[in-house]
Every structure is written in structure tokens, then in C-alpha cells.
Amino acid sequence: MSRAEIFSNIRRGLGRGEASAEQKAAVKARLDQHKANLIPMRAQLPHHEQVALFKEMALEAAAEIIELTDIHEVPAACEAWLANREINELIAASDSQITALDWQSTPRIQLNHRVGKVGDIASLTTSFAGIAETGTLMLYSRQESPTTLNFLPDVHMVILHEKDIVGPYEDAWQKLRSSTAGTMPRTVNMITGPSRSADIEQRLQMGAHGPKELVILLISDSQ
């Protein structure tokens, strides 16, 4: 009976009964419009400046960026980065962008396609969008992008194409709506740098429960 009581309290407070047909239509229209509120100037720059801003903000949030010109350079870049840390296994989703790459030429890493598990050291995923205003990545759950890969491993490596960088969050929502046919996926992740906590004496420590390192493989596709 909670529901009825809550609604009747709210309506009594608003000094009306059920909302009028006009009011309901106005609310419905507002929900369908997806009107943007004020968008800061910094998110409204031309695209090449958004790319520069994305890099600046992501680095400030303690992400690492490896700049590549072509996605085919990803396996070698991953191998080199992981070898430096003596990591030889990489967990990836069965994302076609990743499976289409030549992983035979990088024998020092074992690539496994599955969801994330406790004990995983490194994962590789793609990112659906980059948001320049705060250097934020957007990923969403689907068969080829399980959410556990974004949180369980110590290292999260993410492929992002420069062309997928947008200025404000609002553009990312529009991109998401058009990619998912208007149905929200189970999980949408906005990720800005690696995990951290300042719960002990307000002293910032990196790597709380999520990845300790976030490596963005930024592809310019310039050739």
C-alpha cells in the first residue's frame, strides 16, 4: 500500500489530484525530446581540439595513452606494454574489431576470449565513445562486451578510435541511442581513469577495487 500512500502524499502536497491530460502530455513530450541543458564551452570545440582535450583530461585522470595510427598496430603495442610488466595473458571479448586482428604475430601474449574472472591480470576491450570534456570512455554491455572485463582485471586496455571522440556527454547519449535502437543496455560505463580511493586520511591511492591501470590505445586512422 506504500505506493498509493506515497502518490497521494505527493499529489496532496502539489495541491492537485491526478495530473491533467495537458500536464501528462507535457511531461511525455519532455521525455521524448532529449533536450540538452547548458553545455560548457569547452565541450563545443572543433573535432581536432576535442581530441586534444580528451587526451589532456584522460592523462590528468591518470589514464595512460598509447597513440597508434592504425588498429592493426594494436597486438604489437599490447605485447610491448605487457612484456614490460612480464604479463603474458590478455583476456578479450569476442569483439570483431579485436578478433579480426593478427594475434599470431605476437606469440608472447596468449589471448583468451571470455568474461572477466577473479585473478585476471589484463583485459582488452573496445570503447564505444570517448568524451572530451573530462577524458571519459563510454562502454556498454552486450555479447561482445561483458562488463566484468572492465572491472576485474588489474589492467584494462581499451581501443578507442579518434573519430569516436565527442565533445560533451550529450553527444555520447545520442550516439548510444542510435547504436542501441533506443533500448538501453543492461550496463553503460563511463570510465575516467583507473580506480582509486581516498578513504584513508584523504590520501589518494590508485587501484582500489577496479583496474589499477587504464591504458587507452588511441587510433588516429590517419592513413
Binding site: 568474461v115 556527454y169 550529450e170 563511463m190 584513508i200 577496479g210
Partner: protein, 467 residues
């Protein structure tokens, strides 16, 4: 959590003499306000965003029933379930029922102040379900049998040594006084708990009506593991958190982290919409949202309606000189600081919480930093009026106010009296210009001197300058 708000004065006295607490509170004062100021410096549109956010919240409240209906409809459409809880008891029972349906033995928990408000942990424990807090600060508190003293930095009242001891005692590992080592220890201890849990409970910063989504905003990633790994995800949140669209949520996202920790953006902003989809490889199979009322619906249309705009950023307490001196536990319940002084009387009653809205100098700092421009001093004054009209305020205060009112309504008497008092104070102050002891005002002069009036009264000066 036990209600200790009636003991505010005693709590505050103890807190002021607690050397360790004062050291810990120093970390807060040096941290959040400075970082917030720096973040706002970089966002020239910040004040305009605040104006828009205030207007949007007002629009939401005017249509609260409609947005809640839309939210419920869309959660259901995505395969989730919405439960309505009028009281704390309703909320706890609903969650226990869900836990029992899925045969849950342990639940992991992301940080949620609403779960503190309804006292969920104690209820679950009493009914055979073990809750495990996974936010680092909350985890430390749970080990110590302690409660949050701040809404976003729950363990702000503790020092490193306290964490060292708690971890050593419960983890059975050698003592460490390196925060990095301690955090790694918590990470390792909690990994298995995340996987073993049958249910994950999180809060929500906002509920999006358009999509039926809830969002959590965290830096650690514990909330994400909490809501991804178990078979059932329960969101406990409150009815005023609903926003119309993703774009509207974004307006508040731009304000929240900057006002709270001074970050440009919190590390993880995660939307949850319904359970996992048919071809998803991970994620929960069940998705429940428990919407708690606990007096909020009665605030609509009341003199406290503006408080429903609150987005729980904590800027008001981070900037409050009273909070900064006595800490969150002195307030004696879940929500401390200025926002708590407005909310707590609504939730536990003005009879028990009457001291809280009085524990303010009305300096106005809280209102000046509030991202949704809640007139916190005005709302605290409403509680003082309420307390007065219910004859709950102490006799001395009532007589004092009565006496003042008597003179204030008789200007010539008032002027005569203030002239006399002015002269008397100056006489008492002597050459030092400061009064060190004053009858009836020991609460002031025991701790500091009262500066003597500098000369003539305001009215005397006014008359002089009129000529």
C-alpha cells in the same frame, strides 16, 4: 544506527576535546573545499549550471508523481521490478523478502546512505543474511562496528592508525601503516566476497525516468563489482532521485563531482537498466529497485520542499564551520552537517533532533556552495520556529526571546536599554577593550573574550549622520 541527536551538546563537547578526531577533521578542511574551488575555477559556466539545476529540480518536484510513474513503467518494461517503501521498515522487509526468494546468505553492498537511513545492515543480520560493505571507507567502519560520519567520505573521522589496527585484528596479517598496502589488503579480502555473494545491493545517485535506469557514481569500482557479479542486483534509493532524461542527469553529473570531491568527473559513472539481456555473458539475472519515501513525500508542498533538491554532494558539510569542528558523529544520526540538520528532524522528529537546526551560526556558507541552491539556513530557521511553536525549546531560550520581543516591540525602551548596555559593557571591558566575564553569557566568555562595543549605538550614530 542508534539515535543520539538529543545528546548533541555533550557529543560536541567531547568531540572538541578529542585530539585524534580534530586531527582527522583537519584532513577534511584542507582537502575538499580547496579542490572544489579549483574545479570551479576551471568551469566558467558553473553558476549557470547551478541555476539550471535548481530550476530543473523544481520542475521535477512539480511533476514528481508523473516522473516516478514513467520511471516505474520503464524499469518494468526492461524486465526489472520496482518496489515502493513508505517507511524504513517497509524497505528492509522488501529487501529481506527478495534475499529470501533467491536463498541469499551473503550480500555485498556498494555505498548507500539510504541503506544507512533505513538501518538495513542490522535488519539483514538479525534475519540471517550477512551484509558485506565493499566501499573502502564503509568496509573499515563495518570491521570496527562503526558508522559513517560523512555522506561521501564515511571514515573521515578516522586516522591511519585506526585502519592499521582494524585490519591487523580482522585480517590477521602484519600491521602496516602504508595506506597503499592497506588498500591492497582490502582489495584482496573482498575479491572472494564479491564472487560469493548471492545479492548485490547498491544505492543510486539518480533514477532516469526516460530509460528506467539507475546510476551510481564511485571512484573505487566496488559498486560495479557489487552489481555485476551476483545473480540479483537490488538498488535502494529514494523517490526524489528521479530525473527526466539522460541529458537532465548529465546536468547534475557536471555539478556533483566538482561540488563533492573537486574532481572533474568521478572515475565510474555507471548506469544499470534491468537485468542481463539474452545474449549478455555476464551481469545479474534479477534487477530490483526499492524506492524509499521515509517522509519525503510529505515534504512536497511544505516549507521544506526545497530540501528535496539535494543531490547529496556534501559541499555544505565540507564548508560548515560547525561540522568542521565537531565532526559528523556529534549530530547523532545518519545525515550530518547543514543538510542533515534539515533532514534529520523530518525523519526522526523535531523532539529528538531539535538541537541540530540550532547548531548553526547561520554564516550562510552552506547555501553559498550548494549546487542546487538550497536555502539551508532558512530551512533550519523553519525548524527553530517549529520547535518554538511546539514549546520544545528550552525555557531559558523562550524567556530570552520573550524578553527580547517585549523590548523590540517598544523602540524607545529598546534604545534606552541598548544605550545602557553599551555603556555598561564598555565600563566592564576597561582599558583592554574586551569583556572577560559576563553574567548569563558564560557560554561565550568561558572560551573567548567578548569585544566591547566601540562607541555609540547604531541609532545614535544614525541620528548623528542624518544631520
Amino acid at each position: 544506527m542508534q539515535i543520539e541527536s538529543p545528546a548533541f551538546k555533550e557529543n560536541a563537547r567531547i568531540a572538541l576535546h578529542d585530539v585524534d578526531l580534530q586531527k582527522a577533521l583537519g584532513n577534511l578542511k584542507a582537502g575538499f573545499p580547496t579542490k572544489r574551488a579549483a574545479a570551479i575555477e576551471r568551469m566558467p559556466e558553473f553558476d549557470s549550471l547551478r541555476d539550471e539545476a535548481m530550476q530543473l529540480k523544481n520542475h521535477i518536484i512539480e511533476n514528481l508523481d508523473l516522473y516516478l510513474e514513467q520511471f516505474e513503467e520503464n524499469v518494468t518494461k526492461q524486465g526489472g521490478h520496482v518496489h515502493w517503501a513508505r517507511t524504513s521498515d517497509d524497505a528492509c522487509k522488501t529487501i529481506l523478502d527478495i534475499c529470501r526468494q533467491v536463498g541469499a546468505k551473503t550480500v555485498t553492498k556498494g555505498k548507500s546512505m539510504v541503506s544507512e537511513e533505513v538501518n538495513l545492515n542490522e535488519y539483514l543480520e538479525a534475519n540471517g543474511v550477512t551484509p558485506v560493505e565493499t566501499d573502502l571507507g564503509e568496509y573499515i567502519l563495518q570491521l570496527r562496528g562503526d558508522h559513517p560520519s560523512h555522506i561521501i567520505a564515511p571514515a573521515i573521522h578516522l586516522n591511519l592508525e585506526d585502519v592499521t589496527e582494524a585490519f591487523h585484528e580482522h585480517h590477521g596479517r602484519p600491521r602496516s601503516s602504508d595506506p597503499a598496502v592497506l588498500m591492497q589488503e582490502a582489495r584482496e579480502m573482498l575479491r572472494e566476497k564479491f564472487v560469493a555473494a548471492d545479492v548485490g545491493i547498491t544505492g543510486a545517485n539518480f533514477c532516469v525516468a526516460e530509460t528506467g535506469s539507475t546510476i551510481i557514481v564511485t571512484n573505487e569500482g566496488n559498486g560495479d563489482l557489487t552489481q555485476t557479479l551476483p545473480k540479483t542486483h537490488i538498488v535502494i534509493t529514494s523517490i526524489e532521485k528521479v530525473v527526466p532524461t539522460l541529458e537532465d542527469m548529465t546536468l547534475f553529473q557536471r555539478l556533483l563531482a566538482r561540488s563533492a570531491t573537486g574532481q572533474e568527473f568521478t572515475v565510474y559513472n555507471t548506469l544499470s537498466t534491468g537485468p542481463r539481456r539474452a545474449d549478455d555473458q555476464d551481469g545479474p539475472e534479477n534487477f530490483h529497485v526499492v524506492l524509499v519515501d521515509n517522509g519525503r513525500s510529505e515534504m512536497v508542498g511544505s516549507e521544506f520542499q526545497d530540501m528535496l533538491r539535494c543531490i547529496r554532494c556534501s559541499a555544505c558539510m565540507n564548508h560548515c564551520p560547525v561540522y568542521g569542528s565537531v565532526g559528523g558523529h556529534s549530530y547523532g544520526w545518519v545525515y550530518p552537517g547543514p543538510m542533515g540538520s534539515v533532514l534529520t528532524p523530518k525523519m526522526i522528529g523535531i523532539e529528538k533532533a531539535g538541537l541540530l537546526p540550532n547548531a548553526s551560526t547561520f554564516c550562510g556558507k552552506c547555501e553559498s556552495v550548494c549546487p542546487v541552491r538550497i536555502p539551508l539556513p532558512k530551512l533550519m530557521r523553519h525548524w527553530r520556529e517549529d520547535e518554538f511553536s511546539k514549546h520544545l525549546s528550552p525555557k531559558a531560550a523562550r524567556w530570552g526571546l520573550g524578553g527580547w520581543a517585549f523590548f523590540a516591540k517598544r523602540p524607545s525602551l529598546y534604545r534606552l536599554l541598548s544605550k545602557g548596555a553599551n555603556r555598561a559593557l564598555r565600563l566592564m571591558a576597561g582599558k583592554k577593550g574586551r569583556v572577560t566575564k559576563l553574567p548569563l553569557a558564560g557560554g561565550w566568555t568561558d572560551w573567548r573574550d567578548m569585544p566591547a562595543p566601540s562607541g555609540k549605538t547604531f541609532m545614535e550614530q544614525y541620528k548623528q549622520q542624518q544631520r
